[in-house]
Subunit: 677 residues, 2 copies
C-alpha cells in the first residue's frame, strides 16, 4: 500500500487524542513497554554493578550465547559500567541465569513459543523459557527493568510471566520508493527486538526501485535500482541478524502491479512492450506483468526459487495491491485471453495470476501473503491477508476461514499520534463480533512505513518511538490501554532506543540546523516544537513530489508528533490550575516570533514557513488574551471572540505542509473566555 | 605522556580567555576552519543542486576517484539533496573539476605537497593541486564553503590559494588506558580530514593495555589486552582509510617504560622476573624493559619488523617517556651493567637503550620519534622529538639540529577551553627567538587525548570541536588568531562535524539521561550548562580511579567547555548594555534549583552534585542582587560584599570534580556593584 486512499482523519483524531497529558516521571520498575502479561513485585532489589555476569543453563546454542553477551554489553552501555560480557561457567556465581529448555524451530515461525518467565530476587535473576526466542523476549524485559535510583542501578525483585497476545507483530519497511541502507535496517531490527516485535516485512520491490541482487535475472537490480540494492550476502547477513534477535524476515515482491522497476531490465514480462524506465512519480502506476504469457510464470518460478534460497521464512509476500487494470485493458491479446477465459474484469485476471503464482510459491515450500486484493475464492486457507482496508475486511476473511494481519491504523507515514495507533486493535471495530476460532485467525498486525516522503535520513523518526506503542498493542493484553501511561513509558523507551544507535531523537535537530546553515537553531526549534507534518498522502496532493525530490524542508525535519503541543493541551484541559504555566509557555511562543522571522527569511528552505511563524505568534497572543479575560473574570467581548475564531480557523489549516498543533487548545481557552461570566 | 605533571592553570586561563563572547551568526562563506592562506571573493555564486557532478582531470588514481564520490555523498548529506556520486566523464558539464597534476608519494610523508588552488565562478568550480593530498585538502575547503541563504545552496565565487603553515599536524589517541574501537578511530579520522590534520598518532601500548595483534608474539595481545585489541586486518584497514583521507598513521609503542602490558605475556623482557598483570592503576609505573639483555633487543627487532609491515609511515614512535629508573635500580645485574659502562643514572641507561633501538628502527627503514626524554647526544638528526615540556624544550632541540613537534598546550584531556589551545603556537614562547632554519625544524604539533578519564563513549566530546581550533593553529598563518572569529566558526564546524557521525554533540545529553534514568533531564541540562570538568590530572588526585572505573558520573557527561558560561561572561563584559539578558539568564539558573534538587537526590550517580546545585543557585542570586544594586545606583553595602565574596570563593572551588564556570563573571558583577556610587 504505497500511495493510496488512506484515512485523512489525522487532524481530528490528533486533536481528540492529544488532550491526554503525560508527564515524565520515572517510577521504579514500571517502565516496561510492552507491558507483560503478569507482574508481581517482590521485596528487595538485585544490585547491578561491574560484577554482573550471565550464565546459561539447559539447552545451548550460539544464538543464546550471543544473546547473553549482548545483554551484558547493552547493560554496560546503559549503565556506563564496564562489564565482562564473557559468559560465566558457574551459575551459582552469575547475576542472571538463563535457562532455555529446548531448541526453537529451525526456521522461526508464527507458531514459535515466545513465552518466558523472569524471576528476580535480591540475590539473583533467573530467566526461563521453552525456546531461545522466549529467552530473547525475556532479555528485552530485563534490560527495561533495570533502573537507577538513589541506591544505584538495580533490578527490583519481581516475578514476571509473559507471552504475546498476537503471534505476528511486524514492521514493514518500504525500501523501494526511497533507498534504505542495510545499517539502517539493522538498527531498526534492534529497535524491533527491544519492543518484542517479531516480523520484519521487507518491501523490496515496487515501481520506484528493485532493491535486491538477483543472479538469475541480474538486470533486475542492475537496471532497476540506480545501483542502490542489497547484495545477496547482505540479505543473508540481515536475515541472520534478525534471527539472532528472534525476528522473522518476510520479503515482499509486489506483483503483478507495482512492478515497473522489474520491467526496465525485463520488458518482456510486462503487458506492454516498453521500453520502461524506473518510475519517479509517486502514484498508482499502470504497468503490470502479463498473466497471459507462460514465460512470465517461468520467469517468476525461477526468480522465486532464487529468493526462497535467501529468505527461509515460511511466508512469501506477493503484494498484489492496487492493480488498476489499465495495462491489461490496453493490450488486445490480454483482452482476448480474458474473453476466452470468461473473465469479466481485471480483478478476475489478477485472481488468475494469483492462482498461477500459488503453486510456484508452494513448490518452494512457502505460503502466500498479500494485501487485501489477493483474496479471491479458491485460495487455500493457509494464506495470510494483510489488510490496509480495516478490521471489517479482516473479519470477513476470518469468517471465510482465512488468516489475516492488520495494518490499517498502523501506517507510520500518515504522521498520526502514537495514541491513535495505540487505540487500534486488530480484534476491535469490524472484528469485534468474531467467534474465538475466527479471532484466532487474526494473527496480529504490522506497522508500515511507506517511503514516498521519508528517506534513510529521517526514517528512524518515522518509526520511533511510535512503533513501540503499536508493539504494545500487539503484545500486551487488550485492556492495557491507558494512554497516559503509554506516553509516559513511551518517552522512557524512546530514550532507551537511542542506545541502539537509532537516530529518531537527533535527526530533527540536525535537519533543522541544516536549514539554518549551521547557525544556532534555538528559535527554529521553538517554532517547530508546536508543528506536526501533514499526512504524507495529502502532502503529495499539495506539492509535487517524485522519488528524487529532496526531503530537506521544515516538514521533513519535523517529528511526526509534537510532544510539546500534547503537553500544552494537557495543561489547558485543567487550565484553572495551570494558568501561570500556560501563560509562560504562550509567552515563549509569542516572543519567539521576532527571533525566528529573520532565521526563516535568511534560508531558502525556510521561507515557506513565514506564515506559520506569524500564525503561531498570533495564536499564542490569542491564548494570552483569553487568559487575561479568564483571570479578570470579565467575559470576552463578542467582537474579540469573532476575531480570534477567524484567526484560529485560518491557523488551523495546514501551511507549508505543517499543522500548528496548539490551535485546538488555544481555541479551548478562547471558548472558555467567551463562556465566563 | 599519560599521567604526568601537566599545567594546572586551566582555571586561571579559562577565566582569562573565557571573556571573549562569540555570538553565532552565519555570514556567507567565512565559515572556513582552518582559514586558508589566501582568499579573494569574486562576484556571483555557483548554485548547488541535485545536478551537482564531479569530473577528474589530469593524474588519476583510485584515491582521487573515491574522494570525488565521497565529496558528492557528503554534499548530498549536508544539503539533503539526492545527488549522483558517479563521476562525470565530461568536464565541461561537471559542477566541480578536480585537476591533479601527479601522483603523491607512495607513502605520504611529512614533505608531501598539500597545497591547492580552488577557483569558483558562477559557472563552475575548479580545484587544482600538485598531489592527491592537496586535492583532499581542497575538497575539505569546498565542503565548508558551500552555504545556504535565501537563494538556496551555493558556493560563492572565490579564488582560494592555500597551503599549511606546518607540515606535521596530528591527533594522538591513547587506546591503551581505555579501549577505543576501530569505528571510533575511523570517525575521528574523518573529523581530522575535515579540518586538514594529517597525522594520526596511535598510542597503541602502555601499562594498561597492549592493543594490537602480534603474530610473532601473540601473548602480547592475548594476555595484555583483556581481549580488546585491533587485529592486523583492522590495522591495515585503518591505515588505508587514513591514507584515503591524506592522513599518515604513526604508531607508538611506548618503551622501555609504560610497558607493563607487554610483560604479562613476556616477563622475560622486563627488569624483574614478574609475574605481571595488566596494570589498572593510572600512575607512572615502575616496570621497564631490561636494556642490559641482548634477548630484549632481538625481541624488539623481531617485533618492530612485524609492525613495520603494518605501518608504512617513515616514522616509528618509541614513546620513551617517564622512565623512573626504579626497576633498574632494584636489579643488581642492571646496576652492575651500568657501573661497567660508566652510566651514572637511569637517564644514561635509557640513552643506551635508545641507541640500541635506533639501528633496529633504521634497519626497517624507519625514523625514530619519541617524547622529550629520548633526546640524548649521539642520536641522528632525522629523529623527531615530541614535546610535552614546551616550546623551550623544542627550541633547545632545534638549536642542536633536531626536529620537533609540540604537544604542550594541546592536551585535550586537560579539559581546557579551545581558546587556550588556540593561543599556543609551536613557534611562540620559548621558540620565539629561533632563526629561520631552526624554525623549520619545528614541524608542527599534535593534539593529544590521553584516556585515563575518557573512554570510547565520551572521547568524541574530548576531541571535538576543540581539535579544530588546534588544527587551525597548525594550518593557518600565525596572525589568524581572533578568538571571537574562532569561536563563531568553531560552532559552525562543530555542527558540520556531526555529519561525520561524530557523537560530540549528542553524547552529553545521553549520558545525562542515563544519570536521571531515562526521565526528562531539562533541569539537569540547565545545571550542567554552567559546569566544566576538572583537569583529568587533578581528578585523579581527588578521586580514586583505575582503568576500569565507570565513567558515568556528572563530570564524565559534562562537555570540556561551557559555551553557555562563556557567552554569559561575554554579556557581563558589557553589563551596562546587557542588564536585562543577564538578569533573565541568572533567573533561569536560580529558579532551576527547586527543579534540579529532587532529580539529583533521586539518583545515586548525581547526589554528589547537590552542593553544586546549591552553589549555582546562590551564585545566580548573588548576581541578581548585584544587578539590583547596579540598577538602583546605590553602592552595595560592605557586609553584603563580604558575604558574596565568601560565597564566590567557596563556589569557585571544584565540587564533584566540576567547576562552576559562572563564578568569575558573577564576581565581576559583585565587584561592579561594590564600586558603583
Amino acid at each position: 500500500m504505497g500511495s493510496r486512499s488512506r484515512c485523512v482523519a489525522r487532524f481530528v483524531c490528533g486533536v481528540a487524542l492529544m488532550l491526554v497529558f503525560g508527564r515524565l516521571c520515572s517510577a521504579q520498575g514500571d517502565n516496561l513497554m510492552p507491558q507483560p502479561a503478569s507482574l508481581v513485585r517482590q521485596e528487595g532489589r538485585l544490585e547491578i554493578n561491574g560484577g554482573f555476569r550471565v550464565a546459561l543453563e539447559g539447552y545451548l546454542e550460539p544464538r543464546l550465547q550471543k544473546a547473553g553477551s549482548r545483554l551484558v554489553d547493552r547493560l554496560a552501555q546503559q549503565t556506563g559500567i564496564p562489564m565482562d560480557s564473557a559468559l560465566s561457567t558457574d551459575p551459582a556465581q552469575a547475576t542472571l541465569i538463563i535457562h532455555c529448555e529446548r531448541a526453537g524451530e529451525p526456521v522461526q515461525s508464527v507458531r514459535e513459543d515466545e513465552s518466558y518467565r523472569l524471576v528476580i530476587t535480591s540475590r539473583q535473576a533467573r530467566l526461563e523459557a521453552a525456546t531461545p526466542v522466549g529467552i530473547l523476549r525475556g532479555l528485552a524485559t530485563f534490560l527495561q527493568w533495570v533502573n537507577l535510583d538513589r541506591g544505584g542501578f538495580s533490578a527490583p525483585a519481581v516475578t514476571i510471566q509473559d507471552k504475546p497476545r498476537f503471534p505476528w507483530r511486524g514492521l514493514m519497511i518500504d525500501v523501494s520508493r526511497r533507498w534504505i541502507p542495510k545499517d539502517v535496517i539493522e538498527r531498526n531490527i534492534e529497535g524491533m527486538a527491544a519492543v518484542k516485535l517479531n516480523v520484519l516485512h521487507w518491501h523490496l520491490s515496487d515501481d520506484q526501485g528493485f532493491r535486491i541482487e538477483s543472479r538469475r535475472f541480474p538486470k533486475l537490480h542492475e537496471m532497476g535500482s540506480d545501483g542502490l540494492y542489497y547484495t545477496q550476502d547482505e540479505i543473508r547477513e540481515v536475515v541472520a541478524y534478525a534471527r539472532d534477535r528472534g525476528i522473522r524476515v518476510v520479503p515482499e515482491f509486489d506483483m503483478p502491479g507495482h512492478a515497473t522497476s522489474w520491467f526496465v531490465g525485463y520488458p518482456e514480462i510486462a503487458s506492454q512492450p516498453g521500453p520502461y524506465t524506473i518510475e519517479r512519480k509517486l502514484k498508482i502506476c499502470d504497468p503490470a506483468m502479463d498473466p497471459t504469457r507462460e514465460e512470465v510464470f517461468s520467469f517468476l518460478d525461477s526468480f522465486i526459487a532464487e529468493m526462497a534460497q535467501l529468505f527461509p521464512d515460511e511466508y512469501f509476500h506477493i503484494g498484489g495491491d492496487e492493480v488498476n487494470g489499465k495495462a491489461w485493458n490496453e493490450n488486445a491479446d490480454i483482452q482476448e485471453f480474458m474473453r476466452q477465459h470468461g473473465m469479466k474484469d481485471h480483478r478476475d485476471l489478477q485472481a488468475y495470476f494469483n492462482q498461477r503464482l500459488l503453486p510456484i510459491i508452494q513448490k518452494y515450500g512457502r505460503k502466500m501473503v498479500g494485501w487485501d486484493e489477493i483474496l479471491h475464492p479458491g485460495l487455500p486457507k493457509d494464506i495470510v491477508v494483510q489488510s490496509w482496508r480495516g478490521q471489517q475486511s479482516l473479519a470477513d476473511a476470518a469468517r471465510r476461514g482465512y488468516m489475516g494481519i492488520l495494518s490499517t491504523g498502523y501506517y507510520l507515514d500518515l504522521m498520526q499520534p502514537a495514541s491513535l495507533h495505540y487505540g487500534v486493535d486488530p480484534l476491535g471495530d469490524g472484528a469485534a463480533g468474531l467467534s474465538k476460532s475466527e479471532q484466532d485467525r487474526i494473527l496480529g498486525g504490522e506497522a508500515c512505513v511507506w517511503t514516498e516522503n521519508i528517506d534513510a535520513e529521517n526514517i528512524d523518526a518515522a518509526d520511533w518511538p511510535r512503533t513501540a506503542a503499536i508493539a504494545e498493542r500487539l503484545w500486551s493484553a487488550s485492556d492495557v490501554k491507558n494512554v497516559d501511561s503509554m506516553y509516559r513509558r513511551l518517552a522512557v523507551e524512546s530514550r532507551q532506543l537511542e542506545w541502539l544507535d537509532l537516530k529518531h531523537r537527533t535527526i530533527s535537530r540536525k535537519m533543522l540546523e541544516r536549514e539554518v546553515d549551521g547557525a544556532d537553531n534555538t528559535p527554529l526549534e521553538r517554532l517547530d516544537e508546536v508543528l506536526a507534518p501533514l499526512n504524507c498522502d495529502i502532502r503529495r496532493r499539495v506539492h509535487h513530489y517524485t522519488s528524487l525530490t529532496p526531503l530537506n524542508r521544515l516538514v521533513d525535519a519535523t517529528p511526526p508528533e509534537s510532544d510539546r503541543a500534547r503537553e500544552f493541551a494537557g495543561l489547558v484541559e485543567h487550565w484553572t490550575a495551570n494558568k501561570q504555566q500556560i501563560r509562560a509557555q504562550l509567552s515563549l511562543w509569542k516572543e519567539n516570533h521576532a527571533k525566528v522571522v529573520p532565521v526563516l527569511q535568511g534560508s531558502a528552505l525556510l521561507q515557506e514557513a513565514l506564515p506559520l511563524a506569524d500564525d503561531v505568534s498570533a495564536v499564542a497572543t490569542a491564548g494570552i488574551e483569553a487568559l487575561d479575560y479568564l483571570e479578570s473574570g470579565k467575559r470576552a467581548p463578542k467582537a474579540w471572540v469573532t476575531q480570534q475564531t477567524a484567526l484560529l480557523d485560518r491557523a488551523g489549516k495546514p501551511e507549508a505542509e505543517l499543522w500548528i498543533m496548539i490551535v485546538p487548545p488555544v481555541r479551548k481557552l478562547v471558548e472558555a473566555a467567551q463562556a465566563e461570566k
